[in-house]
Symmetry: C2
Subunit: 149 residues, 2 copies
């Protein structure tokens, strides 16, 4: 099966899968302290970056079925992480915005994730860190471009 692919493709696929798995696991452990789930955290980040987003736009950005996103938003609202209000121009439209409590939890979670990344990077030389950052930057821009097509 692997013979049809170049050795570096096989290697990079495996490494990305393993790194993404550990990142996700670590992220989940960090979120446990704040009693929110990974999809809820991604929703909060999207709300922060897109003020007054509608439910429909949010589902699209999270790549979630709207029924799933609605449950998630209900729970976040109940816990005080966001506010939901009717659009004054069109009362049928619901707009969502992140609360101060929501912003605060994002800062705390990102700080915890940075502490984790810092603990890893301190084991590398500055040159290795620069090369890692450059490689990830390139990889991300190609993946992002491919993703939005």
């Amino acid at each position: 099966m692997s013979l049809e692919f170049d050795e570096s493709v096989v290697k990079v696929e495996r490494l990305l899968r393993h790194v993404a798995f550990i990142i996700k696991k670590r992220g989940r452990e960090i979120l446990e302290d704040f009693e929110i789930t990974n999809p809820q955290f991604n929703a909060l980040l999207t709300l922060r970056d897109h003020p007054d987003i509608t439910m429909g736009e949010l589902c699209e950005k999270l790549f979630l079925a709207c029924s799933t996103a609605t449950d998630l938003i209900d729970r976040l609202e109940k816990n005080g992480y966001l506010e939901r209000r009717r659009d004054p121009q069109d009362r049928r439209v619901i707009r969502l915005s992140i609360s101060d409590k929501g912003r605060h939890v994002i800062s705390e979670v990102i700080a915890a994730r940075r502490r984790y990344v810092a603990s890893i990077l301190k084991q590398l030389s500055q040159e290795e860190i620069d090369r890692l950052a450059e490689s990830l930057e390139k990889l991300h821009s190609l993946m992002f471009a491919e993703n939005v097509v």
Copy 2:
């Protein structure tokens, strides 16, 4: 908040979060074609790599609560991806093993993931690919070591 961290920590944390998000989304899209979920796929990989694993060991390796893992295993068994049998030495112990259908789905999913990675890497020079692979290798070994502590 970010002032307490080095610029490269801030950058690498953000890039890893974004890359892991896209990898997960892509992975989920690939798995949709095979009608299995991400946690089910991770369970299959673990079963392949650890023949005759017990339920308890599987929960541990997947970092899942045993109730969650049991639902997941029930579904995989129902769809013919694994076999469950009693240990002949100790009839109270249930051992799990992957079926041919399970192995086949893993090969197909990994091949689809490799096609995706190949489509990204073909936009890089061989030198850039080598540097990416090397950086990821280093990152993975540090994350893995930190993870098993």
